[in-house]
């Protein structure tokens, strides 16, 4: 009976709760160990000097991710030196999405001159912990004495089509606020994106 109950609850969570699962603003994010395009393993704990992180679930194949590639690169260039490096994580299963294989990721990173690590969530274990549901999906974390605390979840900005017409740079606002020790005005935003391929 207990087993049945657990099963029913698990089913309910898996069907109904998908969008709601994962981290909320204020939660402590667990560390991970994922393979980078250079073959090395990367963890948040490797970044001793960092004040926090801009974690971006993104991929090669989603047009929204592609539209944001240059802006992701710019984010890292702007904030890595200030203590908030970008760490990109590719959450798709390359068997379902062949354009997101490790080789394809390496090629894309080279072609676009990615200045940040581009990791593969090979076992597809990290994105569900975070609750990422699409690409691109951003989590800004701040290093605190409790751990890496989630401070912002959502979109990069409010205009995926035209970088020049952006009104709200959500991620920049969030990181700027953290650097200034001020509260983040908009800590959760939404955007259209590609489903993560399982």
């Amino acid at each position: 009976m207990y087993k049945l109950k657990t099963l029913v609850i698990a089913l309910l969570i898996s069907t109904v709760g998908m969008a709601q699962s994962g981290y909320k603003v204020g939660d402590i994010a667990t560390d991970f160990k994922l393979e980078n395009i250079d073959g090395k393993m990367v963890s948040l704990s490797d970044y001793v000097q960092a004040k926090g992180f801009i974690i971006i679930f993104t991929c090669n194949t989603c047009p929204f991710s592609v539209a944001y590639e240059d802006r992701i690169n710019a984010l890292n260039k702007k904030y890595e030196s200030k203590g908030y490096p970008v760490i990109a994580i590719m959450p798709n299963n390359p068997e379902t999405s062949p354009g997101d294989s490790m080789e394809a990721m390496q090629a894309r990173a080279k072609a676009k001159g990615f200045s940040f690590p581009y990791l593969m969530d090979k076992n597809q274990e990290v994105y569900p912990q975070y609750g990422a549901s699409r690409t691109p999906h951003v989590y800004v974390l701040e290093k605190t004495n409790k751990g890496n605390q989630v401070k912002y979840i959502g979109a990069i900005d409010d205009n995926y089509q035209h970088p020049d017409s952006v009104n709200q740079k959500y991620v920049e606002h969030a990181v700027d606020a953290l650097l200034a020790g001020k509260p983040i005005k908009e800590a959760h935003t939404r955007a259209i994106g590609c489903t993560i391929k399982i």
Partner: protein, 168 residues
């Protein structure tokens, strides 16, 4: 009818169907209805007895393309039960001519297609449904009694099951 199609064809310059699409037998003039969210809102509510199935999709979204035939079948098989499917495309404007229109033609899409072009998704996504994170495919089913939102891909069986809940 053939003459009509011929006439319609002759007065326009339709883009070529991409090589990846197999059928292009049904070249019709496609006029896209392109709206911002305020223009879409009238498709998201009803006072009539009709049940609407609003599917958010895009040509670049593989799981959307996979489930699209099921929505087409639903639209066909349930039209006599007062059900209508509306396909809301989230394609980028620069592919309207090159990808979206050819896709609609090649796949002989019969359901109503509305194209949503509204950049401020952070504002309108929660107005479609509070639980929507923004991933597609996503589907809203509603009548004047209830509404249900799904951020997931469908099989035909699942769609039929859901629609029958509404028709009870």
């Amino acid at each position: 009818m053939i003459l009509l199609v011929f006439l319609m064809l002759s007065c326009k310059n339709e883009t070529k169907v991409e090589a990846t699409f197999t059928s292009n037998t049904n070249d019709e003039v496609i006029e896209l209805e392109i709206v911002d969210f305020s223009g879409l809102e009238k498709y998201l509510t009803t006072t009539t007895e009709k049940t609407y199935v609003v599917n958010f999709w895009a040509t670049w979204c593989a799981p959307c393309i996979k489930e699209l035939p099921y929505f087409e079948d639903l639209n066909k098989n349930y039209s006599d039960k007062n059900v209508e499917v509306i396909l809301v495309s989230l394609d980028f404007p620069h592919v309207y001519e090159t990808k979206l229109k050819p896709f609609i033609t090649a796949n002989n899409i019969k359901s109503k297609v509305v194209v949503l072009n509204d950049m401020d998704s952070n504002s309108w996504i929660p107005k479609v449904d509070e639980s929507w994170s923004g991933a597609i495919p996503a589907t809203l089913i509603f009548n004047n009694q209830t509404r249900k939102f799904f951020e997931k891909p469908f099989t035909y069986k699942e769609l039929e099951y859901e629609i029958n809940q509404f028709l009870k």
